[in-house]
Amino acid sequence: MIASPRHKVLPALDKLGVFIAIGLLATLGFAPLMVFRANRIVLGETVDIAQAMPPGPMVVLLASIGVAGVAALLKTSAMMRLIASLAAIAVLAWVVGVSASFLVEGADAVARASPASGFWLLFGIFALMATDALTRMDPKPSLRIGLVLLAGLALAAFLASGIWDDLSVMREYENRAGSFAREARRHLFLAFGSLFMAALAGIPLGILCHQVRAVRGPVLSVLNIMQTVPSIALFGLLIAPLSWLSTELPILRAIGVSGIGAAPAFIALFFYSLLPVVANTVTGLAGIPANVSEAATGMGMTERQRLFSVKLPLAFPVILTGIRIVLVQNIGLATIAALIGGGGFGVFVFQGVGQTAMDLVLLGALPTVTLAFAAAVIMDALVDIMRPSGVQKGSQ
């Protein structure tokens, strides 16, 4: 009774769109787009959109914000909203580079320009709008992977074009290009290497836990307790035994294992990765419908055939979900390796925190976040691909 007249007043407005439009207006009105600093450490002064760039780019930016806002507000198709929000993000990415060049032009060489709250809010709002559109479109897994790759290409194109070169975080990168590549390799090695080892050890261990009931409880409890030890402590606790081992065993020393550095970080990440892999392997194997496993035996399959041609393939999507959890978790945890000299993007984060240099923090944090996000999307898509078609609607 109360609802119907209100519907007439707002005929075809999208609920989320109203929030988005209000958010956009508030951001434009109250939040500064950029911040300018005389050097990398001092507090900066904020700059509004009007002062942050030449009129040309500003018109383009405002236009794209306007189009996206209207697309969000009206009940447009999901595809339309996706295109409008992604276009707005692209414009925003271009403008932030242009604006940085505009602000530091003629200033001291150590002057820095970086995006401020206004930029991040706009970015967040458009990302929300794109997420909403994608959620509504429910794209196929292959398309999701394609979108991530496309975003990666766009990112690479921006980096290569030099548009962002005057952004403070890129200035920071320039000073450390060599160490950035090294820490990036180290980070990937820690995250993926430990995951690989954990899968290698964890899947057979999970199978063992499934087959031998007596092993299951103890193994899972030990791994559970291991997870409760905080990461920095586990990293630290491995230092002493490893340095002892490397002094005792020359072979270990020869392959670069020592008390500090990557080895304890690698091993700690490996231990953290084990639980999700083992637990998901057990869950996946246990979740196979009883009559499927019964049918496999009834067909005359041996224990081994049943495991490899029926049980493991059916459990695989669940195991892959475990690997997804581990990968995203490892990419984040690998930052902590820096605390014990293990390298990785954490080096920049913690140095940046120590020097209160936000740009340096960003240099470490942005790649970590991007990597974790891309890994999550791609792994989720792979899990969906691996799930046999029709299983959700059919027999499970």
Binding site: P289, N291, V292, S293, E294, A295, A296, T297, G298, M299, G300, M301, T302, Q305, V310, P313, L314, P388, S389, G390, V391, Q392, K393, G394, S395, Q396
Partner: protein, 312 residues
């Protein structure tokens, strides 16, 4: 074909199957009926050694099933279960090909066999071969399950409540299909069910099981007219008994010369159905015609009634 000799299965002290002996003849359908917990499924699973008996032995074609390893034995015996147990990650064709592949058939022969079975079970191969079980209807899944059980041309087919998950109309169709295919391949079938109607419909012989023992093992007519105990009597249903008796006979058995008005019936129609048609049409006689509609004679209600009566 299947000789079960003094078979017993104990879990701890309790005998789930207690000294059971029965024989299923080649090319026949034997049905084990019983309530849940009667030991019928355990008995069935001992035939392909999914359960190892505590005592006794089972011979198939005169050979003790213990003389070959369990998994090899199972490859020679078809096995279909309730809820079909299809492998959800494999296509229909791959599911059906499971045992032939395990048995090492060559690809050509497997493909031919899969197509043959799919056609037989009314699943157009070109359309369904590459679908996954999750994309099929319940009735189709069940047919694939039976096709898979028959893929390696087994002489013996074991079925555990194979139609339990189907709704009544699809179930009746599935039962007819099974009988047709069973006759075509002359497969020996041992089937477990809790549904007496299904047992009557499918079984050449019916074994009634209770508390681990076979209470009576006989053909359907004997079961109806000479129940061995009150338990069997209750199970076959006092009120339905005359009609069940009628359903065991065909119009062809009592057709006589002459003509009649009314909707014709065929020789293969059961007396039960013919009787029901008469009642419905309000007639005492119905014409009998063959497939082509040629008149064969007629059937009288008076001639049907005696078949529903208890034999003297």
């Amino acid at each position: 074909m299947i000789d079960i000799e003094h078979i017993t299965k104990r879990y701890g002290e309790e005998a789930v199957v207690d000294d059971v002996s029965m024989t299923v003849e080649r090319g026949k359908v034997a049905v084990i009926v019983g309530t849940s917990g009667s030991g019928k499924t355990t008995l069935l699973r001992m035939v392909n050694r999914l359960v190892e008996p505590s005592e006794g032995r089972i011979l198939i074609d005169g050979k003790d099933t213990h003389e070959i390893p369990g998994h090899l034995l199972r490859r020679q015996i078809g096995y279909a279960i309730q809820g079909h147990g299809l492998f959800p990650h494999r296509t229909v064709a791959e599911n059906i090909a499971t045992v032939p592949k395990l048995a090492g058939w060559e690809k050509r022969r497997i493909d031919d066999r899969v197509d043959e079975l799919m056609t037989l079970f009314q699943l157009e191969p070109s359309q369904y071969r590459d679908r996954h079980p999750g994309e099929l209807s319940g009735g189709q899944q069940q047919r694939v399950g039976v096709a898979r059980a028959l893929a390696a041309e087994p002489d013996v087919l074991l079925m555990d409540e194979p139609f339990g998950a189907l709704d009544p109309i699809i179930r009746a169709k599935a039962q007819d299909d099974l009988l047709e295919i069973q006759r075509r391949f002359e497969t020996t079938v041992l089937l477990v069910t809790h549904d007496m109607d299904e047992a009557m419909r499918l079984g050449d012989q019916i074994a009634v099981m209770a508390e681990g023992k076979i209470v009576q093992y006989a053909d359907p007519a004997t079961l109806l007219v000479k129940p061995a105990s009150e338990f069997v009597d209750n199970l076959v249903g006092t009120a339905d008994r005359p009609f069940r008796l009628l359903s065991l006979r065909k119009v062809g058995d009592i057709v006589e010369p002459g003509s009649s008005e009314g909707e014709p019936v065929q020789p293969a129609t059961s007396l039960r159905e013919a009787y029901a048609n008469m009642l419905w049409q309000g007639r005492d006689t119905l014409p009998v015609v063959d497939d082509q509609g040629n008149a064969l004679g007629r059937v009288r209600m008076d001639a049907i009634s005696p078949w529903a009566a208890r034999p003297a």
